[in-house]
């Protein structure tokens, strides 16, 4: 029960023990950590003295849903405590935007627009962005408005004062689903797909540090642990796409619960067969996330475990690069949108894993070839 001491340590000086705390998180590498250490994470968040401003652009609200899913009331309570009359989240806060005869009415206690302006003036908040930033039509950003202002402008107002920005979800990280609608001219906060130059930060000439926590939706642990880190001032080590390495370091395929079936070449060609989902379009080899060890919804399960092919929802190319979702990776030119680093990771991964190498080699060299085995029976 050494962790109990950690809680009180955290209360006295969160920064000092953050290393230990995070090291433990990484070592356990499972949702179990967050659940058994919720009070410690909560304390880290609560004691940081920082505020969280959470803006939502063009998206589906699924990121917020997923975080509520995480449902660690201690952590949400901690977030709530920081939010006392301060933080901003349009799905959860008491306030709303009110204009009377065109002018903002009331005060920050009731009016969300006045509240947001005040927060921006004070600065030094952690800014969480959910949803993509739309520039269309004609660069106006009017395909996504809030408080009589294009969301693009709301973001541009809020970004400079942020001590750190977390792009939550694949839309905010890379543009995500919104990027499929060309007319929307959607971009993520610091990336558009794999391009930093086309990301909102570069386009608008902003320079804050941004951490990407992608996923469609993101796992709540990813956000809460990253947030705990950021709030207590620890540098978060990120990969080439701005994602914390701690969570997005290895391919889903490497420790997929159905890996045994892959190695035995027991592959299903229709759903609910219980075997490897490769022939059904699983993109687990191209998706870098710790889903298999962390699992989802309180450690209950994950996509491939429940028989759903991985759609690589954490990758910059999602969803376009991984569609059709149910077509085999190698039967389409999937490497077009995946950079060499990523491809290399797959190959390195594959060389260790032996049995998988055949398919992966074909994938890497783009050989379309005949099917080497008929999908698993049943």
């Amino acid at each position: 029960m050494g962790r109990v001491t950690q809680v009180s340590d955290l209360k006295n000086g969160p920064c000092m023990t953050r290393r230990t705390f995070l090291a433990a998180a990484a070592a356990v590498g499972a949702a179990a950590f967050l659940y058994s250490n919720a009070p410690a994470v909560a304390a880290a968040i609560e004691n940081s003295g920082k505020r969280v401003v959470w803006l939502r652009g063009s998206g589906c609200g699924g990121c917020t849903s997923s975080i509520l899913n995480g449902g660690n009331p201690e952590i949400l309570t901690a977030l709530g405590k920081i939010s006392l009359g301060l933080a901003y989240h349009d799905g959860l806060m008491a306030q709303q935007g009110v204009f009377v005869d065109g002018s903002p009415a009331g005060d920050a206690g009731h009016n969300s627009n006045i509240l947001l302006d005040g927060l921006i003036d004070e600065g030094k908040y952690v800014l969480i962005v959910e949803g993509a930033i739309l520039n269309g039509p004609e660069g106006s950003g009017r395909y996504c408005m809030s408080g009589a202002t294009p969301f693009k402008q709301v973001f541009m107002n809020a970004a400079p004062g942020a001590s750190c920005i977390i792009a939550l979800g694949t839309c905010a990280s890379y543009g995500g689903v919104s990027r499929l609608l060309k007319a929307a001219d959607a971009t993520g906060v610091s990336f558009c797909g794999t391009s930093r130059l086309e990301g909102a930060m570069a386009r608008y000439g902003l320079s804050n540090s941004v951490i990407n926590v992608p996923g469609c939706p993101p796992n709540p642990d990813w956000l809460l642990l990253t947030l705990a880190d950021v709030l207590s001032g620890v540098d978060v080590e990120v990969d080439a796409y701005g994602r914390p390495k701690a969570f997005f370091g290895s391919a889903v395929h490497e420790s997929c619960p159905r890996r045994g079936a892959f190695d035995r070449a027991a592959r299903d060609d229709w759903f609910s067969g219980g075997n490897c989902l490769y022939n059904l379009g699983c993109k687990g080899m191209l998706a870098f996330a710790d889903c298999p060890s962390r699992r989802w919804n309180g450690g209950a399960s994950m996509c491939t475990q429940s028989g759903g092919p991985c759609v690589a929802c954490v990758e910059p190319g999602f969803p376009e690069a991984f569609m059709p979702f149910f077509s085999k990776t190698e039967s389409r030119g999937i490497l077009e949108d995946v950079d060499v680093d990523t491809a290399a990771k797959i190959i390195i991964g594959a060389s260790v894993i032996g049995a998988g190498i055949h398919a992966v080699k074909r994938l890497a060299i783009g050989e379309s070839g005949r099917e080497d085995e008929k999908g698993g029976k049943r």
Binding site: R56, G59, C60, G61, G62, C63, S65, S66, L68, N69, G71, P73, L76, D90, L92, A94, Q95, G97, V98, F99, V100, G102, G106, H110, S112, N113, P137, E138, S140, R142, Y143, C144, M145, S146, A148, V177, A183, A184, C216, P217, W270, F271, S272, W296, N297, A300, S301, M302, C303, Q305, S306, G307, G308, P309, V311, P319, M323, P324, F325, S327
Partner: protein, 569 residues
């Protein structure tokens, strides 16, 4: 005086409401969706199968509903609806049921109820001891993010989400629902764990909504019986304490004290909030209707898709009831052929100057000039205006319980009708919220039934392949109401048309080409800034208007989609 709510929060982002106030009453109202997402456009020329996963990204609150509607559209295009295995349908029922339960809890406790803890009510209720007792409960339970009920709701969502995870891998965005059935094959251990989750969630719902009674006791006297049971029960509760333990769960508390008809007119209590006078419609059959597509599959192999025998195929029936609310007759049969969409007041155009289109046909051109997107002109929303025949329709829990002639709602409406001289509308913020609470309890009962009927083994998916030139539609109910997906597959086997008409497209629709307002707009007309009328200064914090709009649980993410079939550049 002109009040604009922008953004209206505690719902999915992007809703703007503008009302004109004259002598304290709303005389005109405009409801705007401020985002264009166009998921349907993204599906064009892609594999039809991709629709199940891509359309889930329309909404993070009801992704399983979209997956179910998309799977339904594909299955109907393949003429395979009759062969989806029973076990798959039960798993879909469970996944959808979990989603409804959490969506209702999120709406009630994170969205709607916090307005009852607005400090305005502290002042309004402090003239009597009972009022002070009531305010203490409202503040302690419903304060945004801090209230006890909010905390309980989060605990309950956690239990539900675990169940969603066990069955669907994760949520939202679970990959489990696919054309032909589901991907998951729950083991006996999974089923046992699911039972535990359902019990845990149900226990919290029981404690929150009912306090003292069990869910079965409540449903037996209010749902299975005549509907009078609820009133007798409320009258028997003590007035010296309004705690849950004494029986004042959130439902009895709401049912009693948020009704002026019950608390003031009937029982002469010194404290009430008149939500039964807010958010109603003028009584006119042509002005408004209540629409449901039917939801939850029967316990057997296969299902009958929307159309002829639809009514018999679902646990909660499809149907239409017109605004006069003649509840003694059964609901009208659903005729999907009557559904049309208008773009008169929406930032879209139809080809060749047409003003309305059936969802299965038509090309919609979104506004492509920045200047054409403003909120004060003839066009003021990214939401289209669907109509049933010519009638705008409310959809959601209230419409479902009206079309199912549910006892508690019918009984409450009859009681309200008995006081018609006092001007109580039958559909209002009060009955809308009551319906959502009652449905939450019904869901707990249904979830238990489904999980008890699920066994390990069984068949979970059949093979389906949408052929070139086929077309289909999937009509189901999402937590917020009627959800339809229309699919057409071109000669090349790719999607040639896809249309989504979501519940909020109905509820938050702007004016149609006949200049008829949508349901939220209609419900706002005649509304006031607080339930006790216009109070000086209340325009800066018009709680009455918040109640009206939030009672619909609008979800703009779902509502703002359109397809442009031909892309010329």
């Amino acid at each position: 005086m002109r009040i604009t709510l922008d953004p209206l929060t505690r719902l999915s982002s992007g809703l703007r409401i503008t009302v004109e106030l004259k002598d304290g009453y709303v005389v005109s109202a405009a409801c705007s969706g401020m985002a264009y997402r166009g998921l349907e456009q993204m599906l064009l020329n892609r594999s039809p199968m991709d629709a199940v996963y891509l359309t889930q990204r329309i909404c993070g609150m009801c992704s399983a509903s979209h997956a179910t509607a998309a799977a339904g559209a594909i299955e109907s295009a393949c003429e395979a609806t009759g062969s989806v295995p029973r076990d798959a349908l039960i798993v879909r029922n469970l996944l959808n049921g979990f989603e409804w339960l959490r969506s209702h809890l999120e709406h009630l406790y994170l969205g709607f109820m916090p307005d009852l803890a607005d400090p305005m009510y502290g002042d309004a209720l402090n003239s009597s001891d009972l009022g002070n007792l009531l305010w203490k409960e409202l503040k302690g339970r419903y304060t945004a993010f801090e209230g006890e009920a909010c905390h309980d709701a989060l605990l309950c969502i956690k239990a539900i989400s675990r169940a969603e995870g066990i069955l669907g891998g994760r949520s939202p965005g679970s990959p489990a629902i696919v054309p032909g059935g589901v991907t998951s094959t729950p083991t006996r251990g999974d089923i046992y764990a699911l039972k535990e989750c359902i019990e845990a969630a149900t226990a919290i719902v029981q404690k929150r909504l009912l306090g003292a009674l069990s869910i079965e006791e409540w449903l037996e006297s209010t749902h299975d019986g005549s509907g009078d049971g609820a009133f007798r029960y409320l009258e028997g509760l003590p007035m010296d304490s309004l705690s849950e333990e004494k029986g004042w769960g959130d439902l009895p508390l709401f049912m009693m004290f948020c009704s002026r008809m019950l608390a003031k007119d009937t029982l002469s209590l010194p404290a009430h909030i008149g939500l039964d006078r807010l958010g109603g419609y003028p009584l006119d059959d042509q002005l408004i209707g209540f629409l449901s597509y039917g939801s939850f599959y029967q316990d057997r192999d296969g299902y009958v898709p929307a159309g002829d025998e639809r009514a018999g195929s679902f646990v909660m029936p499809a149907g239409f009831t017109s605004g006069g609310l003649q509840l003694l007759n059964a609901a009208d049969r659903l005729d999907p052929g009557l559904i049309v969409e208008h773009v008169y007041a929406s930032f879209y155009e139809y080809g060749e100057g047409r003003t309305s289109e059936a969802p299965a046909s038509g090309e919609t051109i979104p506004a492509e000039k920045a200047d054409s997107i403003g909120y004060d002109g003839v066009k003021y929303s990214f939401i289209k205006a669907p109509r049933y025949g010519r009638v705008p329709c409310e959809t959601g829990p209230l419409a479902r319980l009206i079309n199912g002639r549910e006892s508690l709602i019918v009984g409450t409406m009859q009681k309200l009708a008995g006081h018609r001289s006092a001007g109580y509308p039958l559909a209002s913020v009060y009955t809308r919220t009551l319906a959502r609470m009652q449905e939450t309890l019904l869901l707990c009962r249904m979830l238990k039934g489904w999980i008890d009927g699920l066994d390990a083994g069984g068949r979970y998916c059949v093979r389906v392949t949408p052929g070139p030139g086929s077309a289909g539609r999937g009509l189901i109910e999402a937590p917020r109401g009627a959800l339809g997906h229309w699919l057409a597959v071109g000669g090349d086997g790719k999607v040639s048309n896809y249309q989504v008409v979501a519940p909020t497209t109905w509820n938050a629709s702007p004016k149609c080409s006949e200049l008829k307002s949508g349901p939220i707009e209609l419900a706002l007309l005649g509304g006031q800034t607080t339930p006790s009328g216009y109070l000086p200064g209340s325009e800066a914090n018009p709680v009455g208007l918040y109640h009206i709009v939030r009672s619909f649980d609008p979800c703009v993410s779902c509502a703002v989609h359109a397809i442009r079939r031909r892309f010329d550049g």
